[in-house]
């Protein structure tokens, strides 16, 4: 694909390239999406012209049809439990007219066949790949159709296609399978005209709850994750860790480490100290025997961090504005409330892990990473190698949640492997997970509103402050360009029709590393906004659900919000009394194009604390590719969100994260997991994400239910003071 000849590619209307080639005697077809995302808007400029020189020609995905008719789809996205391999295969098989069993997914590495420039994140995979994947698959189908028509001596229109074979419509015995057609079809030109896509009414796989392709191996314990990667002659690595937040290595020497049993290599450099040994325990013991001096960080306390995170109306970068909120919020009667959310750990159950083999001419790594290409570049930088000689193969991920967009562990394994001359596996301990890397930032929100005499919201202002989510990972000029951290303000905008709106976000640099956590700012921002909307409803004397519906707009989002709110009200029996000792709360959100409403039914535990009995969830992801997959993501988001909402608070004490393990940072368990009733709506033929949006309303739904139960308004997560 490096320089496809002109007749071998086409620029699609959506700004991507489709090209064909021959691979191993079969047909291969790929599409190139590789527009750096900041330049996406420029793609339209070059649409239909010469292949744009600004784009990489690395394909974004790649199909191959083998002579036996099996179709392999190289996956640009990693599987971390969100079911993306299944969803993308469904989309491809649909347009290729394959029987489900005929398609096979293979992971792609940083070296190809597809190199994903973006990583797997932001509930973006299906939404971004749906159109190009369909068009590429349909192009492949039409190439095969043209070849079949020539070979069978009929017009292309006289052919029908099913289960990976073309046959003559009125003579079905005359048929050719994709496998028989592939090699010759590969020599044909890519049609200049875009193919006709299957109408949604003819879909059989898109919209079907197809079983996940990754589960048979996971059920048998046979799926390979980064922590499971093995190689002949491998060693295990351990790395010296700073004793406190912000501590730096002042001096590193091997000390006694090299004389320890099983030790093969000791690395003592200016910024890195570690050991490669024949076993994990030998490596860990040897690191403790190294002669290291650290410059300690300041004895940081949680209060110092929280004090910095303080939203002040009028101080942040305005990210949404309608009318003149400042003027409308002058004078008496303004309603104000403040909300806070704490730091949180990702707590993916598979700690970071990588197996890296550094050889003289190339580097091969297997890593549980959300970002194989970024990890390959990081290894190349650390070793001073050409990034093209580093290949990172993603394994299955034991949870990602944003933490694995950065995979330091791969760089650590690479440095140790370079010194040892053998493959090295590094797997973090749980304490390393808690103490190193980055955490979800704390947030603070000030909400202000004015109600009209009719009880409607006239003006609504949301000022939020947050530690960095995306900003810590992008260069300063880009930070200046964006002004506010768009990760932190995800979910911060107002989705209701209100005449005067002002939303502002303030990026707060913190003395602790913060970053992306599932949904980014979504859980915190929607907790604040939807709790406040509930407060306004009660002040207005309105039913909280009717109040929300009354403030939805006339646009598409408004229609979809009304639909999820109306549906969730029906499902939960909103308006009927809750069982004795229980109450219900509602909240909704729009995120990544997906509209969600939750109703939570809660009681107070005899020993204190909130019990969530049932959550009714209605999710409209536009077009659900796999409705059961959307339901599973919804259930998972609700539980992970509840864990955060009810229990989780990560704290810093004396310059260290206080928690070492789950004893000091317990997660939600089955006893506190509610019954979850999910309804998945389909509102159109365009899919949006499902991996994070269903988390949005859960905090406010529970807090609003607690208010309905006790009259107590909880404005800080976790909701422990009940």
């Amino acid at each position: 694909m490096s320089q496809p000849p002109a007749r071998r590619w086409r620029v699609s209307r959506r700004g991507f390239l489709i090209g064909a080639g021959v691979v191993g005697g079969g047909l291969a077809l790929g599409a190139t999406l590789g527009l750096p995302w900041l330049r996406l808007a420029l793609a339209d400029v070059v649409d239909g012209a010469a292949p744009p020189t600004i784009v990489t020609t690395d394909p974004a995905f790649w199909f191959e049809i083998a002579a036996d008719g099996r179709v392999r789809l190289a996956m640009p996205k990693v599987e971390m439990g969100q079911g993306i391999h299944t969803a993308l295969a469904q989309i491809a098989a649909e347009e290729l007219e394959l029987a489900w069993e005929q398609i096979e997914v293979v992971p792609s590495s940083s070296a190809g066949p597809v190199a994903d420039n973006f990583g797997t994140n932001a509930s973006n995979s299906v939404a971004s790949l749906f159109a190009p994947l369909r068009e590429t698959a349909a192009t492949m189908r039409e190439l095969l159709r043209a070849e079949a028509a020539d070979r069978l001596g009929v017009a292309p229109a006289a052919l029908r296609v099913a289960n990976g074979a073309f046959f003559v419509a009125d003579d079905p015995e005359r048929r050719l399978s994709y496998g028989e057609l592939a090699a010759d079809a590969a020599r044909r030109e890519v049609p200049a005209e875009p193919p006709v896509l299957k109408p949604s009414t003819a879909w059989t796989l898109i919209g079907a709850s197809v079983p996940r392709v990754d589960l048979p191996a996971k059920i048998r314990g046979a799926a390979t994750y980064g922590y499971d990667a093995r190689a002949e002659g491998m060693l295990y690595g351990a790395v010296a860790r700073p004793p406190s937040l912000g501590a730096t290595l002042r001096r590193a020497a091997p000390g006694e480490a090299a004389r320890r049993p099983g030790v093969v290599a000791v690395v003592a450099e200016r910024d890195f100290a570690g050991v490669a040994a024949e076993s994990r325990s030998a490596a860990a013991a040897a690191v403790r025997a190294m002669d290291l001096e650290w410059t300690e960080g300041p004895p940081l306390q949680q209060e110092q961090i929280d004090a910095r995170v303080r939203a002040v109306p009028g101080r942040g970068v305005v990210i949404q504005r309608a009318g003149n909120a400042a003027a409308a919020l002058r004078g008496p009667g303004v309603i104000t409330a403040e909300y806070r959310t704490p730091m949180a750990a990702h707590a993916h159950l598979e700690p970071q892990a990588a197996l890296v083999d550094v050889r003289p001419d190339r580097v091969l790594a297997r890593v549980s990473t959300q970002y194989p290409l970024g990890t390959a570049q990081a290894i190349a930088r650390a070793l001073g190698r050409d990034a093209r000689t580093v290949e990172v193969v993603p394994t299955y991920l034991g949870g990602g949640f944003g933490r694995r967009m950065v995979s330091e562990v791969a760089v650590e394994a690479a440095r140790l492997s370079a010194a040892a001359g053998r493959p090295v596996h590094v797997g973090w301990s749980r304490a390393e997970e808690f103490h190193h890397g980055f955490v979800r930032p704390p947030t603070h929100h000030v909400l202000r509103a004015a109600l009209g005499p009719d009880g409607r919201i006239v003006a609504l202002e949301h000022s939020q402050a947050s530690g960095g989510v995306i900003f810590p990972f992008i260069p300063a000029p880009l930070r200046a360009l964006f002004g506010a951290d768009f990760g932190a303000w995800r979910g911060a905008c107002i989705s209701y029709a209100v005449p005067h709106i002002s939303v502002s976000a303030e990026h707060v640099p913190l003395p602790i590393a913060t970053g992306a956590w599932r949904g980014l700012g979504l859980l915190a921002n929607i907790f604040a906004i939807e709790s406040f909307i509930d407060e306004l409803a009660h002040i207005a004397g309105a039913d909280p659900l009717a109040f929300r519906i009354a403030h939805t707009g006339d646009d598409e989002h408004g229609r979809r919000l009304r639909a999820v709110l109306t549906t969730v009200a029906e499902r939960a029996g909103w308006g009927t009394p809750a069982p004795a000792g229980r109450a219900r709360g509602v909240a909704c959100s729009i995120d990544a194009g997906t509209v969600v409403a939750h109703i939570a039914e809660v009681s107070r535990k005899p020993e204190g604390g909130v019990r969530v009995h049932t959550v009714w969830a209605v999710v409209d992801p536009g077009l659900p590719i796999n409705p059961d997959g959307v339901a599973a993501q919804t259930e998972g988001n609700i539980c992970m969100g509840l864990s955060s909402v009810l229990f989780e608070r990560l704290s810093v004490r004396n310059g260290r994260i206080a928690a070492d393990n789950f004893g000091a940072y317990p997660l939600l368990t089955m006893r506190d997991a509610p019954a979850i009733e999910v309804t998945v709506l389909r509102s159109g033929d365009v899919p949006y994400g499902a991996g994070e949006p269903p988390m949005g309303p859960i905090g406010a739904a529970v807090a609003n239910a607690v208010f309905a139960l006790t009259g107590q308004r909880l404005r800080e997560l976790p909701l422990t003071e009940v």
Binding site: D228, G399, G663
Partner: protein
């Protein structure tokens, strides 16, 4: 040499591993015997990802010194199915499309298997009591609960059919 090694019987197969240095079953399974279906999550007995059976009882393999395992029967996730035939617990977990990332699932299924073997008709409260020590960060608890109840029914049906 023999006195310096320990015989382990894992999934019906005998393995010989070194007696020293002292170490826990989890890492012997994973790093020495290549049985990576048993997962590491916390190393302190909190999360349950490393659950295996010791003489049919669910234990945290990160807390079991390998010296204590000599002569006892260890079952791991790799030993749950009989060849191609999945264990009723695996069938039920697959049927409910239970795993998401899957990292905790070996431990979930081993805990569930021990529960059902000891108590073929677990009530919902008994399921919760047995499964409560197994974390699932992806939050698949609703499906796990359903799958365990269904697995018990499948196991009873299999027993009655014999």
């Amino acid at each position: 040499m023999m006195e310096q090694s320990v015989n382990l019987v894992i999934n019906g197969q005998t393995y010989q591993v070194a007696k020293d240095p002292p170490r826990v079953l989890l890492w012997v399974l994973r790093d020495e015997l290549g049985l990576t279906g048993t997962k590491f999550g916390c190393g302190a007995g909190y999360c349950g990802a490393c659950t295996v059976h010791l003489d049919g009882v669910a234990v945290r393999s990160c807390q079991v010194p390998v010296s204590r395992v000599a002569g006892r029967a260890v079952t791991t996730i790799e030993g749950l199915a009989r060849g191609e035939e999945l264990h009723p617990v695996q069938r039920a977990f697959l049927e409910a499309q239970t795993p998401q990332c899957g990292w905790c699932m070996s431990g979930q299924m081993m805990t569930a298997t021990a529960l059902i073997a000891a108590n073929p008709r677990p009530s919902e409260e008994e399921i919760i009591a047995a499964m409560d020590g197994n974390y699932c960060r992806c939050g698949a608890y609703a499906r796990i609960r359903r799958a365990v109840a269904r697995a018990a029914a499948l196991a009873r049906a299999a027993t009655e059919a014999v």
